[in-house]
Symmetry: C2
Subunit: 353 residues, 2 copies
């Protein structure tokens, strides 16, 4: 198979972790006789520095031409504390999501038995957790009308959803639930928000098309609690953009394996695969960042982007082996054990494919 992959390394540790995923993907491609065509493009602060724009048109062209996008991370602290900055790396992210039509962010949260002690939660709370949060990614308050009035003294943002947007996301959620434990939880704030009432209404109307799926409806504040109390009680969660932003991040830390969590964003034009962690600027260039989340995102790319399940499984097996044998970066090494460099972990994984 011919695999055309757009490579968007981004900022901070992005380039380093993406490099390791490239090694692994190339090794897998070699083994299974696929041809990979990588095309790199600029994004984030790196793109602002180079061309004054966090998601340049050329980058968009590259993504549109690709079968999948492998993404590192973006964001740089020099933009973080200036509310008046006019060009920001995050704008690139939002523009990219919109222009590529990446309407569904898929965020699994699961545990690795060998890492369960890293969880801030007690073992009996976190054990058995295996959930997916499906976050709507191109609508809601992220993309609604916003602005100032009264000489800048009043600010507003608008959250808008259409029935079609909700159906598109919910359909994916029902289908995923069908392939898993058949439980779907729709998360909203229907006791206050009109957009949430439309979510609930729309999902309720779809229930009859998926009679095997057990659907529940919960308020976002209640879910913020239950994710900490009994995360293993969830299977598939669907929710709107802003709630998804908060809940996916909350869910990511409870696993204790944050540095290992992959994600995908399913799009109209193409799909994008990226680690859930950020650009971690403090570690940039030090060859110490954990590349496993990006490598596991590449596994998701094989399975969900290219429909190549065996290739994906091989990557996961090798990652598990690296964990079992302690070929890990300092964040996972544990006191007294040898910590490997980012690049060493990548080399080891590629060699073991």
């Amino acid at each position: 198979m011919n695999l055309n992959i757009a490579l968007l390394a981004g900022d901070g540790i992005g380039p380093e972790v993406v490099d390791q995923a490239v090694k692994v993907v190339n090794a897998v491609a070699h083994k299974f006789n696929h041809t990979v065509n990588w095309t790199s493009a600029l994004t984030g602060a790196a793109a602002i520095d180079a061309v004054g724009e966090p998601y340049p048109d050329e980058t968009h062209e590259v993504c549109m031409a690709a079968d999948a996008v492998l993404f590192g991370a973006i964001g740089h602290p020099r933009f973080d504390h200036d509310p008046k900055a006019t060009v920001r790396p995050e704008q690139g992210l939002l523009k990219m999501r919109k222009k590529l039509g990446l309407y569904a962010n898929v965020r699994p949260t699961f545990t690795f038995p060998s890492l369960i002690e890293n969880s801030p939660l007690k073992r009996e709370r976190i054990e058995g957790t295996d959930l997916i949060i499906l976050r709507e990614l191109t609508g809601g308050i992220y993309f609604g009308e916003r602005g100032r009035k009264d000489e800048g003294n009043t600010a507003f943002d608008t959250c808008t959803y259409t029935r079609e947007e909700i159906q598109r996301l919910a359909k994916l959620g029902f289908e995923m639930a069908m392939g898993r434990r058949k439980k779907l939880c729709c998360v909203d704030k229907a006791n206050v928000l009109e957009s949430s009432r439309l979510w609930r209404e729309t999902v309720q109307d779809m229930e009859k098309d998926f009679p095997a799926v057990e659907v529940s409806y919960e308020f976002v504040d209640a879910v913020a609690m239950r994710l900490v109390q009994w995360p293993s009680s969830y299977d598939v969660i669907i929710t709107e953009n802003l709630f998804g932003d908060i809940l996916t991040d909350e869910a990511s830390v409870i696993s204790g394996s944050m540095g290992l969590m992959p994600s995908s964003s399913i799009g109209i034009h193409t799909s994008l695969f990226e680690p859930i962690h950020g650009s971690y600027p403090q570690a940039a260039g030090k060859d110490i960042a954990n590349p496993l989340a990006t490598v596991l995102s590449a596994a998701m790319m094989f399975e969900d982007g290219f429909g190549l399940k065996e290739e994906a499984e091989l990557i996961r097996t090798v990652v598990n082996k690296s964990l079992a044998e302690g070929i890990v970066t300092e964040d996972l090494a544990g006191k007294g054990n040898k910590a490997y460099k980012t690049s060493e972990v990548g080399d080891w994984l590629a060699a073991n494919i």
Copy 2:
């Protein structure tokens, strides 16, 4: 002193837990020579059933005439799964907040040493946690314009904030921080929302008036993570209404003492004190609900509502004593220990004042 207290018991376990607080308040008043005038009024589902309205005008009159409001809980499951219900208990809550001008919800999260094992978090994560979330309560997307378009197929909600609303809440936050560990964290989503940028701008402008306070700015998604990872790193958090809804609930479960957490809502016309737990309909009428959160809310009422610190401290001391001696309801009793009834706990507390 003459203490005029409006008593809004509400739904579910509301009446039972409020009853115990009344016993305790009366005992304290007796001891310190205060005269308490209680005026009960309807709210929530109970008010809908009686007069078709969750926050009737008569109830509002009672609250306006009082020095403080002691509140139980509202909400009833029969309203929960009908997105088209036109009258809902929660509307009463929102109307009450708006009409009483309850602009700041104060939600402490702390741990009781004897209950720390109840936390879903590991001991080393939760120990030392003592934070306050100050949630803006009468603005934002809760009270903005909302509705439908396109024959009901598009729904929208608007989040609006004015500089004055933000200043009012932030001022309280700065002042609270001054009386504590002098750390203030402003939580927003300034990388996306215009209203959040106004929050950040406004708080930044106020920093110079409180030079002793160390201010940080964090995105809501990051805080949703850090509250689970290192809750003890926070002192005072200020945030807008919806983020506050989510984060206060998340914070409440990490302590392991959810059934004990009090809250207050500071208002223009009067202030309101209530347990953070809900109406817990499954337990209603069974005399098993834990009354301590309501009793501790009454302590907050003495201290913050009436400026009577000694009275508040006495209540807290007696509550600690009940915990130490195991005079607790079944949720706290622990396997093999005697569980006391709601009313027995109230009687014991009153007798020990």
